[in-house]
Amino acid sequence: MSHTLLHNVLIPFIKGLVTVVAVGLAAGVLTWIERRLLGRLQIRKGPNRVGPQGFFQWIADTIKLIFKEDIVPSRAEKALHLLGPLLLFTPAVVVLGLVPWGPELTLFGVTTPLHAAADLNVGLLLILAVSTIGVYGIILSGWASNSKYPLLGGLRSAAQLISYEVPMGLAVVSAILMSGSLSMVEIIEAQRKAGVWFVFPGLIAFFLYFVSGVAETNRTPFDLPEAESELVGGFHTEYSGFRWAVFFMSEYGNMISISAVATTLFFGGWLRPFPNVAWLSFLDVIPAFFWFSGKVFLFLLVYIWFRATFPRYRFDQLMALGWKTLIPISLGNLALVAIAVLWGAAGLKVLGAVLVLLVAAGFFAVWRRPARPRSSTTMASSNVEVRA
């Protein structure tokens, strides 16, 4: 077999298959983790009947979705109604293919980098561009359903997604400033060279990126498009059965890809903690791939934690947060990082140390503040008292 055919066609096919299957399985297992964890966080049990610890619940749910009727409203635009979920799913998976999950993999005598394509020198730009295509999927499925709730949900969702695209782009620029490259692999290598993960000098940028990422994936506290109390199911109200499952997989696929990009840009990708400190080299027994997926998994847990912690934003608050808070912060952060980079390697370390100290001081101030007298009128606190 010719080298070109192998590396350009066959290997991408295999990687694509592995990725889509992995996204499908991960979405299933994540729902189980999410429901169990939410149960624990809300002092209840969560699914625990199907299989050990309820682990087979997601398989049962999948079987249910497969056998469910596929309802397309008679007034809907049939072709666009079908295209919507596909347009949401494909970009979510393609982004995962552009992120390096490890340095290299040799299998059956073929060595290939652990991502879909060659390490593009515009990798990050392509990731941002591809992930934005998902907006079309949402607005098309909302519009094509020809029903009022999906239409409103789709519009809201599109407005939300494009609003948070701006602070996300500005946050990503800080990582490019620090690494001087758009290539995902070179950004990771730059963090090895700098001897510090970019999360320290880029603490604000990481915060902005992750908050925008939660908004981009329509997750709590920004799950406005799916605000069931006002919009029923948002843009996917008129979807059922496996079409709905495609939306579902895309949401989890998007969560994974946001986490993977955050890991690459700010948490050193596949690098172990403190890659330059020699005495920590025993950590290298864990392969690079597991470092990467472990970090991604932690981010996914944070997503679930957010869902248990924060109440949903109101729509005008959501837009105000995006346009009036995150954008000024991201512009200020950009200036800060640009000045630090101008200063050189020491600048990044000083900026990182100052930011970490500020955060630590903030935690300390909150911790030392005397607890407010607990009112027994609010439901949450009265629950706690009943338990105590």
Partner: protein, 127 residues
């Protein structure tokens, strides 16, 4: 396998194309395969748009929606183009150095003026 420009640069996108093809085909194939399993029993009530039990009297496409959605879309284009300008600047920053910093400060200053204007005019407030 990192390439800068030339025909190789185009070739490096080919794997992505095939990868994306799989990502696009997977849900289609699954939908077709799953169609073999399920039962279809449609009726006119089931196929009507969902409006919490009320029979829908108008087409959803006949309704107009808030002009603010258009406004947000226009503002997004302005700010996103700005972000796109920042990308090449950030890549070349280690060569531009102080010149780059001042140059981008001027660019962002003009942009922030527009941002403040838009804010004062109330384009950013939803209520």
């Amino acid at each position: 396998m990192r390439v800068h420009g030339g025909p190789e640069a185009v070739e490096s996108y080919i794997p992505i194309l095939f990868f994306a093809a799989i990502a696009a085909l997977f849900p289609v194939v699954m939908l077709v395969v799953m169609a073999l399993f399920r039962q279809q029993a449609p009726n006119s009530t089931k196929l009507s748009p969902y409006e919490c039990g009320v029979v829908s009297s108008t087409d959803a496409h006949d309704h107009r929606f808030s002009v603010r959605y258009y406004l947000i879309a226009v503002l997004f284009v302005v700010f996103d183009v700005e972000t796109v300008f920042l990308f090449p600047w950030a890549v070349m920053y280690d060569k531009l150095l102080l010149f780059g910093l001042i140059e981008m400060a001027v660019f962002l200053y003009i942009l922030v003026l527009g941002y403040v204007y838009v804010w004062k005019r109330g384009a950013l407030s939803w209520a």
